[in-house]
Symmetry: C2
């Protein structure tokens, strides 16, 4: 049985790669990762808020909301 | 062969649990996680800066610095 991890994002083009990398780096033996795009799936906004998400990207891991910032290099913009 | 993931922090008492949770949630088949306390191990500061770390806690995953914020509940303070 794996725990649920939900990765919420809003399609940020600069950090999408980093976001997917983190979500994909979790141990698949322990976590089932769901990726939710709040920009296109607004029906999940209330759920995200209830989980404590205040900004995206965020990873809710074992019910704890972790907010992730990827410092984009100017070279990437 | 596993890739290197380095988790930098500075002993934040509120978020230490969340930090360790994230570092511990990575796939051990793919990542060897090192946890570095920059408050007590200042010799690693230059390395962290070179990796792009600008704040702690941060996870450097496959050379990409991800800055993590744990929204602490007032109830936890």
């Amino acid at each position: 049985m794996t725990a649920k991890a939900v990765f919420y994002h809003a399609g940020c083009p600069v950090c999408l790669t980093a976001e997917k990398m983190l979500a994909g780096a979790l141990d698949p033996q322990r976590y089932t990762v769901e990726i939710v795009h709040l920009g296109t799936d607004k029906s999940r906004l209330a759920e995200a808020r209830n989980a404590g998400v205040v900004s995206v990207p965020a990873l809710v891991l074992d019910s704890v909301p972790l907010h992730i910032n990827f410092e984009a290099s100017l070279a990437d913009l």
